[in-house]
């Protein structure tokens, strides 16, 4: 429970609204500026844009949970039982993004193999072979 007075709490809510709105605007501005929509011919590298936008979103998430959902005013052990398990997602993100990248690399590898020219053989183009088979059926 908040230990603030009613008037104080009302002010915090108003400040929170302004804060979330400004951060959202900032994020959109970074996206538009970075992709060259605001200034003609000016773009930001993704390595600057992405960490900025992810960081701002994380701050928004923190603010919503701690102020709007009152996590700040709960007992610490309650907060920890809810917040600590989400750390598991860090590994999930690393593992699955690595996995996704690997799918793409394998797909590209197969494409490259298909275009390889081997002496003495007409073609190893599996795509073409499949199409022939489909046509026969």
């Amino acid at each position: 429970m908040s230990s603030h007075s009613y008037e104080e709490s009302k002010k915090i809510v108003f400040k929170g609204m302004i804060l979330l709105g400004v951060i959202t605007l900032l994020e959109v501005c970074i996206a538009l500026l970075g992709n060259g929509h605001l200034i003609h011919g000016f773009e930001l590298p993704k390595l600057i844009m992405y960490p900025l936008m992810i960081g701002l979103s994380m701050y928004k998430a923190y603010f919503i949970v701690y102020e709007f959902m009152h996590m700040r005013y709960e007992i610490k052990s309650l907060a920890m039982t809810v917040l600590l398990p989400t750390l598991l997602l860090v590994w999930a993100v690393i593992a699955f993004f690595q996995e996704g990248g690997s799918w793409g690399a394998r797909r590209q590898q197969i494409k490259d193999f298909n275009q390889e020219y081997v002496e003495g053989q007409e073609s190893l183009n599996i795509d073409a072979d499949t199409k022939v088979l489909e046509a026969e059926h």
Binding site: M1, Y6, S9, K10, V13, F14, G16, M17, L20, G21, T24, L25, E27, V28, I30, A31, L32, N35, H37, Y50, M53, I54, S57, K60, A61, I64, V65, F68, M69, E74, I75, S77, L78, T81, V82, P85, T86, L89, A92, V93, F96, F97, E99, G100, G101, S102, W103, G104, R107, Q108
Partner: protein, 285 residues
């Protein structure tokens, strides 16, 4: 018995006393604690979906560019990247703010205040759903995106189009349209319902034709924003039920500062929280 729900929590500082039971180590009611744990599990569900989106996106050589895909605005405007979805985000933030006000008025047992602010929250939720309906309609009817077809492609090489936007050879005197590597395009549907895939010649001299973008895009977009929209929808239903209960004095007897409003408030903020991440991965990155 209504008096059962009266909350009288205290923190046991004395470890011995905790073992005798009856205390509330987290100093919250059972209902609120379980709402937190439900939200935790729901967070994992959404995280699973968003991570699947990331993994599939990483496995594709190209991906639809958000500020090209989401650049329409009501009134026939087609060149307003991300503006409409920013409006949607503001609507959701505002409804979150009105929800906090409802909870505050609940603590003061101000029934009129609670009902007013909850009503504002419901209006915010419905506006968000209306915006989402418009967005989906534009994508499905206007741009022919479906769960299996994604007409938003990306050029991997620069070049020049050999036909105009209607798929006809260029008229005499019209300069052919050029494109660079990484430029996004949308394959339009002709009046006969056939796709108009424009043919082109790359700078390297290769002849080609526009191809569909990664088909996972539509399925992921409609499923994840749909799942979020369904959360908003069920949130509006529960808000309405609880607002009616507040107005009819159901929670007054419980004398717990309208805790039910607080619980639905937690859920509503969570919906806003999820949108922060949906907004990030679908529209910003």
């Amino acid at each position: 018995m209504a008096t059962d729900t009266v909350t009288d929590h205290h923190v046991d500082t004395d470890q011995e006393a905790s073992w005798t039971g009856g205390g509330s180590p987290f100093n919250v009611s059972y209902g609120k604690l379980m709402m937190w744990y439900f939200l935790l599990s729901d967070a994992f569900t959404f995280a699973g979906f968003l991570i699947a989106y990331g993994a599939l996106r990483f496995s594709m050589p190209t991906w639809p560019v958000p500020d090209f895909v989401f650049s329409t605005f009501p009134g026939g405007i087609h060149d307003a990247p991300l503006i409409f979805v920013t409006v949607m985000t503001f609507v959701l933030i505002l409804s979150s703010v009105t929800m906090v006000r409802a909870v505050q008025e609940g603590h003061r047992e101000n029934i009129k205040g609670v009902v007013f602010w909850m009503l504002m929250t419901i209006i915010g939720g419905l506006s968000f759903l209306g915006c989402q309906a418009w967005e989906w309609t534009t994508l499905i009817k206007g741009e022919s995106v479906s769960v299996t077809t994604n007409p938003f492609g990306t050029h991997s090489e620069g070049g020049v189009y050999t036909v105009d936007t209607h798929g006809h050879p260029y008229a005499a005197g019209v300069e052919a349209e050029t494109f660079a590597a990484g430029d996004p395009y949308l394959i339009h549907k002709g009046e006969d319902g056939e796709w108009i895939k424009r043919s082109y010649q790359t700078a390297g001299g290769k002849l080609g034709e526009q191809e569909f973008g990664p088909k996972q895009f539509g399925a992921l977009f409609f499923f994840i924003t749909g799942f979020h929209g369904f959360h908003v929808f069920s949130g509006v239903l529960f808000l309405t039920i609880i607002m009616v209960n507040v107005a009819s004095g159901v929670y007054v007897k419980r004398r717990n500062g309208n805790e039910m409003v607080e619980k639905i408030g937690l859920y509503w903020h969570f919906v806003d929280l999820v949108w922060v991440f949906v907004f990030l991965v679908f529209y910003l990155l």
